[in-house]
Symmetry: D2
Subunit: 342 residues, 4 copies
């Protein structure tokens, strides 16, 4: 049993983290912080947690947090980096769901987030928490940067192809569709049901903050420079990401076998039979990434379909998966729930 | 560990039952039947179950079924009553999610379902599986009739008032709103997204088959005749029932206390604080019924708001709750999952 | 051709008013005001208007507004009452879509809106713009208070019954379901798609501001006091109100004939054949109110189903209907569009 | 005033055609046919048409149909080709919304539709009804093949680039997202709200029937062979197509100016300002195609975003646009309605 703290659990990744941890048999939730909701019962904000979590939100307190074995940050960017150095110094392990430690290059981070990074010295020791790539490093990590939602779906779809060098890394396209929970639990006109329901739109085509994160991961996979055109879209549903990935094949190979072998031992990547079309609802509420591979008309364009629940494998579920690895628990503990369908 | 069979698991209550039973530590799924899908892998029809259930659908076989400790029927009406007598004779316990054994009066059943009942002799021993009313009888039941979705939400909301005789049983109104999964997994134009999304409509105002079932339960609660106006509506969402109940108060009483006391020991009924408005999403995927009580403008009209997930507390979750009671398991085993929110 | 100004056209009733007026053959749009968006092209905020409306938002200017034949207010409450007295003084006619002039009793207004009314002296001359009740008064009105959305659907459903004195006015129930555009185009967490989609909930059961407005109208219809239990619900769709109305019959009468006769000459009230269930989508984008009447199980409870598009017959369409009457145009001009279905 | 007949108006393109034609000042609807609904009032099937269309469905009758000036076919494929030859022989003009005459190569048609084409001799005179390409040929056409929904959005987005030869025609990608009304008004489990809501999925990646139609149009535009990877997706909304198009630039050019000039005189193509993201809701119910052009990170990949309402510009609106051109009416007559937003 480990003691766990959560900083900033008032957003969607926060409530999802609470849903998963509330039933985790090795976790004792010690403190859940929120400056804005301090004093309020967690279950008052999130009535689905009534009867499952009895804690109140507290002001973040470094003493209480550092007494935990691990602290999750489910905060907007720039919050974690203000507290993480002290926690690390005190020996508390940190799993950060925000973007603060995802990019290894501080300059690049500052360019995309328009502000200075307050602890670039920690970037080298931050482990990018994609277990399918970094499982061994995660075991002993003190600081985990949980991948973003788009980056998870996109990297898992491209990795087998790039690792084997069978597509041109300079001509990658990721056309990604996300449910609106990806925009977070914050008041904004564009995310109102009356605005985003019965509607489909691309956004941030000129440049989305997940682009450098994805490119960093893809570069590492193929060990050379990459060029990705990344077009995110908003689709009128709450949860789910559907990434449709296009690559230009440079070699002929059994693509289905390649993916099946690459992910044979992965508990949370499910390669569907040839000819399949994964549905986001088949992973709703679950930590699974389902993938299908197509080569339409036998042309030289490979199409990979990759779906996740943006709040689970794309955020909180993956965070718990990291925690399970870090503390030697069964990797699937508390995150092997079955998708709720329909 | 008990052996379990399921007849007719190709609908929404079927897949939900499989989701719940797949992770039940005391259940060994032996056979899942479907005439139409016989031979197909269950996970091919329901991809959320990939990796969790490895069985194929089979033709229903009385030998295999009767070898189980309990058999669930997740079938349209008229299927269970053709097989149940033989199973009962052989000592297999039965939990029927369909309507076949819900009404104790065979004549009434035949009138509402427009066909003869093939085993009216079993009706007296069928236990109506609403644990909040019949828990003791359920323990030793051999045949359980799982309540319908509307009847569950409506009865749990009216029961405390009628049991205490504080509303006029001859002037009850239930205005109920259901997600479209209530119509079942069958091809019909009216349930297409293009027809039922961005739309709200009442239906079957002249008479819905759940009306006699509800009235039967309410009569039992107040031990006198009742008169209910029941208006079901279709609301553009997948899961959830919101029952808004109106009663005419005949006595003055602390309504909040009444409900809190009535359900104090119930694991799956949650009475919200005074002034609350329960949301169906707060029970999505969970077995909870959440209730709030209002008396607007202090008039003599009491308003009860009662929400459930129609596929869980309104069907498959309640079926498992019955099974847990029947076999002496913890009543919450495998059905204490937290609602997926958002 | 008349000159028209609009104050505050940045919300949903505003854009709907612009959609209707842009194609009105007798209207010349002179000025559209918004403090917050001043200077911006109207079509930049509302891209559906590109190519149809070339005006920019302006600061409200009393000179320009009073030069119009009529000025619409599509503003939150308390805005119109600050400008209307001056416009009225200068002879400009006003159609106010907000709540400022709907209640004839200033004290009651102040109680429900928690602020003083700045021009109670205008209340006696404000005409409540429900053409089915006040058509003659509307013709010569200088100040129109356009009814709220719930009040329109509810009054049109109850009026025939109350006018003829065949239901008990002291036991009225209105269970109303609204799409989320009713909450307006303003950032709020509760109206996010991620919060309000796949969800159904009641709200404001203790008291909604439309309650006194509805009661005022019903009192006028039956010329005696009324008691209404009004429970509004949020349903996961953009547009539409479905009001389910319950009354206790005190006389036996042909209800279908009653409604058909009452609305025989009304261009925008459509009484459906007996046994029907109106769908909100059948009026989406149109100015029609569709009504069906039921008497389930021949009990003494009458059920009226009344649907409107909350932004058209419940707001902007009704406002234009008032304008057409005021200026002697064909009452249907520019508002006889057919509902967009599916 | 022309006499118009419609064959097969019981689907979504049918009801949309009726909505548009009901208010067309130059059209007199003479006959609306449906074998399955013969005798029923059109407004009984489509209640939005109550008060606007008083006809009943009839059996198709060649005498009545050939007495019309023009007959629309809003039928599944293979229906039109059985009746069109006789109508053409009798001098009746035909506008076919189905796929029967879209492909000029009968062999290719038979390969994609798995059946023989019964009147290949008419294919050479069938005009592909995309006014932005074939306006002059449409004027005198006797037989119009109305383009499919995906083909309309995709061709309008690619045309300027291919006509000017500035992208590589052998590496085209169209990632298209459609609302579920594209699947038609027919009972199918996959299109149920409970299946397709809260879900995103690709389909028919191996080959969709619109692929050869699109390629045919693109080949004509660039006068050489093309290679298109076309991936359609189902998105949880009723109406709308969002086509995200990717091309590899072979020349440097002012893309914004190119598109603005190409469509400067087109009444139904709206090129948005640079940097825009068109929303499908901005064209909901309207005949407009809105387009935006991006060149992310100044790479050699151009991204075109093209949105239409699949039932209007993608079907019935475009059909009426063709009719207007054929009969010398104002091209926008009865189809210049403004999108309903929100």
């Amino acid at each position: 049993m480990i003691n766990v703290g959560i900083v900033g659990a008032t957003g969607y990744t926060g409530v999802e983290l609470l849903r998963l941890l509330a039933n985790h048999p090795e976790v004792s939730l010690q403190i859940i912080t929120s400056r804005s909701e301090s004093g309020k019962a967690v279950s008052e904000l999130f009535p689905n947690l009534r009867g499952h979590i009895d804690l109140n939100f507290n002001e973040p307190d470094i003493e209480q947090l550092s007494a935990c074995d691990v602290v999750f940050f489910a905060t907007p960017h720039c919050v974690a980096m203000a507290m993480v150095p002290e926690l690390i110094k005190r020996g508390t392990r940190v799993i950060d769901l925000s973007a603060d430690f995802r990019l290894q290059d501080a300059t690049q981070w500052e360019q995309w987030y328009n502000m200075p990074h307050s602890c670039p010295e920690l970037l080298p020791q931050a482990i990018y928490g994609l277990p399918e790539v970094n499982r061994e490093a995660i075991r002993n990590a003190q600081l985990i940067a949980v991948p973003g939602c788009y980056p998870t779906a996109t990297q898992l779809g491209f990795l087998p192809l790039l690792e084997q060098g069978i597509i041109d890394p300079m001509h990658l396209i990721a056309d990604a569709k996300s449910g609106v929970s990806g925009a977070g639990r914050k008041a904004s006109i564009g995310s109102l049901l009356a605005e985003s329901s019965e509607n489909m739109t691309a956004y941030a085509v000129a440049g989305h903050r997940h682009l450098p994160e994805i490119e960093q991961g893809l570069r590492a996979a193929c060990k050379q420079d990459v060029n990705l055109t990344f077009v995110p879209h908003l689709t009128p549903m709450i949860r789910g990401i559907h990434a449709t990935l296009y690559g230009k094949l440079t070699k002929s190979i059994d693509l289905q076998a390649l993916f099946e072998q690459r992910y044979a031992d992965e508990p949370f990547v499910d390669v569907l039979p040839a000819g399949s079309h994964p549905e986001t609802r088949s992973v709703r509420g679950s930590n699974i990434c389902r993938i299908a591979i197509h080569q339409p008309q036998q042309s030289d364009t490979v199409v990979v379909l990759s779906v996740i629940d943006n709040l689970v494998k794309g955020a909180s579920g993956q965070a718990v998966q990291n925690m399970n690895i870090m503390f030697g628990f069964d990797e699937s503990l508390a995150i092997n729930g079955i998708a709720v369908l329909p």
